[in-house]
């Protein structure tokens, strides 16, 4: 099944994001090997050059490491992965607040609403 892509951003940045999410949520675990560029390109139905480019950016960020004889592995630096995870979470919260403010909620009202939703559960 081809990966869903948005139309407004370069494809490699979207692949980057998708692989990042997979690393953060443990589908690709720290220290384990990643699928090959060709396999992943086929899975995503994208050009292998594009997939390669996403991998290159991930390597540059340090989240994946290329070893001489065992291909690409996810970094074992848990701190780095946690950091990436936190960045993703903060981005979610930012976007949530932005959307709520658009609806006319103040920060206080948002907090009250959140607490009441949690209490109901």
């Amino acid at each position: 099944m081809a990966w869903e892509m948005n139309s407004d951003r370069p494809i490699y940045t979207q692949i980057y994001d998708k692989i990042l999410v997979r690393i953060v949520c443990g589908i690709y675990r720290a220290g384990t090997r990643l699928p090959s560029v060709r396999d992943l390109a086929a899975e995503a139905s994208v050009n292998p050059n594009t997939m390669q480019r996403a991998f290159t950016e991930l390597e540059r960020s340090g989240l994946i490491v290329t070893l001489r004889n065992s291909g690409r592995v996810v970094t074992e630096d848990m701190q780095m992965i946690d950091n990436a995870k936190r960045q993703l979470a903060l981005a979610q919260i930012d976007s949530f607040f932005a959307n709520m403010r658009e609806l006319g909620y103040t920060d206080q009202e948002i907090m009250v609403l959140i607490n009441s939703v949690i209490a109901e559960k």
């Binding site: 370069p10 560029v37 994208v46 540059r60 993703l88 981005a91 932005a98």
Partner: protein, 327 residues
């Protein structure tokens, strides 16, 4: 929350300008604003005349990363670099395909040029979409590359050679219409191709036929139009060519088979070869393309990478195409 982003990362992009990855785009969208220059009358001094920009600038600038299947760009002159695919440093860097000032005028068309002074250099290791509205000269261009039409002026060089038997050996061509013998069985057709082309892989062909559920004992005349197209595409993709030229490869094929065919193209194409495909189904193939060529009234309008269009225009190639060619 009214914004249902199915992709959690999308929100990050929307609201956080400091994105997690570097936004580097060296490639420039090279735009040939030639809409005002009518192709009817060649004018050497026309400022929008494609030749004046020089061939190298027509090709998208190298990007920062090293593409897996493309040779690393080095130096300032594109495509004079060593060809890594063939290992040796003694191999001269001849572009895979080069068009020099190529024109085609059909008899009886007055002074109208179907292809108008095209200059183009196509390297190895890319998947390139040849896009443009109906009648803009895509098929004419493709036929000249394959030696089916003779250029009115200019020339086509494939590995440095004019179209001839030797170039047909390295080009696998899917024409716009079927040319297979209807009375033959699919398996006979495979045998025919295997006899005809040294680089044909019978095994690959049967494997793809099996995956698409096409009976090898069926005669071609009993197959539907779409199935016939699939057979033809399979035959073409089963070769191990340097250049695959596919004229409208997926037009008559259902969406599920389309996905399979695109996957086949991705997984089967060998790193040293280039695929040039013309199509109107841009959104379907956009994700597998490296570069796009836009043609208009027989002229080259734009030759750039998909990433460059997306990052500089902020829209997909499909959307961009609709804007550029809006009627």
């Amino acid at each position: 929350m009214n914004n249902n982003n199915e992709n959690p990362m999308a929100t990050q992009q929307d609201n956080n300008s400091t994105s997690a990855y570097p936004q580097q785009e060296n490639s420039s969208v090279y735009m040939q604003q030639s809409a005002s220059t009518s192709p009817y009358v060649p004018q050497e001094n026309d400022s929008a005349y494609p030749q004046q920009t020089g061939t190298p600038s027509v090709y998208p600038q190298p990007e920062n990363s090293t593409p897996l299947y493309a040779q690393k760009e080095s130096g300032t002159a594109p495509y004079t670099q060593q060809n890594q695919m063939y290992g040796g440093n003694s191999v001269p860097a001849t572009p895979l395909l080069q068009l020099n000032d190529l024109c085609k005028r059909y008899p009886g068309m007055g002074s109208y040029m179907s292809v108008f002074h095209m200059n183009l250099v196509i390297p190895r290791g890319r998947i390139i979409g040849l896009l443009g509205p109906n009648g803009c000269g895509k098929s004419t261009l493709i036929k000249m590359i394959n030696g089916l039409l003779t250029p009115t002026c200019g020339n086509v060089l494939i590995n440095g050679l004019n179209p001839c038997a030797a170039t047909k050996k390295v080009i696998s061509y899917l024409p716009e219409r079927t040319y297979l013998d209807n009375s033959m069985k699919v398996s006979q057709m495979v045998g025919y191709f295997a006899d005809f082309y040294e680089d044909f892989s019978t095994e690959k062909a049967f494997q793809m036929l099996g995956a698409l559920g096409i009976s090898t004992e069926a005669r071609l005349k009993t197959l539907s139009k779409g199935t016939k197209e699939k057979v033809q595409l399979i035959l073409v993709m089963s070769r191990h060519a340097d250049l695959y030229i596919l004229d409208e490869p997926i037009a008559g094929v259902d969406p599920a088979a389309r996905d399979y065919i695109l996957r086949t193209i991705i997984t089967n194409y060998n790193p040293g070869s280039t695929i040039l495909l013309s199509t109107h189904l841009i959104s379907d193939i956009e994700n597998i393309l490296d570069d796009v060529i836009f043609m208009k009234n027989g002229s080259l309008m734009l030759y750039t990478s998909v990433d460059a269009i997306r990052s500089q225009m902020g829209k997909s190639v499909d959307t961009y195409f609709r804007e550029v060619y809006a009627c």
